[in-house]
Symmetry: C2
Subunit: 119 residues, 2 copies
Amino acid sequence: MAQAKKELSDAALQMIADRFKVLAEPMRLKILHTLWDGELTVGEIIAATTALQANVSKHLGILQQAGLVNRRRDGLNVYYRICDETVFALCEAVCASLHDRLAAQIGEITAAVPRRKRA
Amino acid sequence: MAQAKKELSDAALQMIADRFKVLAEPMRLKILHTLWDGELTVGEIIAATTALQANVSKHLGILQQAGLVNRRRDGLNVYYRICDETVFALCEAVCASLHDRLAAQIGEITAAVPRRKRA
DNA sequence: TTGCTACTTAGCAATATGGTTATAACAGAA
DNA sequence: TTCTGTTATAACCATATTGCTAAGTAGCAA
């Protein structure tokens, strides 16, 4: 998995960090989650997230500027969709990692707990 | 790639965002980069990153709390190493995505540039 | 034009974070 | 013990970000 180390300039590090930063907000993840199965209008995203319209719009702008979602106007509605496939892989990798970590912690604490009704 | 959508609680979204947030700082990425090939002491990391000792120590603490690096004391020195393999995959996926996006933008702007010495 | 709906942007307050400096804690040697 | 080298923590300042409210823009219909 771990390839040989390559040189990384400060500019490159900044770009990578910026990409992670876009994904580092629960509300943006929630929005991406609503878009998981396909494109939606802003109104539909607002309804699905129960967030204020101005916030959703701002976050969508950030996601678009990062190149993660695409914008399409159709009459009064604006449709957004995920256009960067790595979003799925990134989120799933993080979820898997978090799961593994918590599972390991459960194992450790379980061993320390006096048996009460360990199934 | 995109699996069927699952339910995600706010707590889950927060955990995922927190993980991304840990990776969303250039200095932490730089530290992880120095650890790419194996464990190093704090002093070695400081030398490799040319950052202040207090910063490196603080960032290492954040990385450790997130479960991304491991801490091992040996005499006066403390060794850190990457202990979450997903770090590699995440960074490489982001780099690939950034590369693709920039390459696409190059293609678009190239078509708009009056041919000067397009090789 | 006016009016309506859908969405975006501007400005503000509160919170959070990173870098810096200074100090503290830890481990070993003398 | 004292001294030294290594790492961690505390306190502060400056910056950045989020969510909120309010105002503005875009497209369509009458």
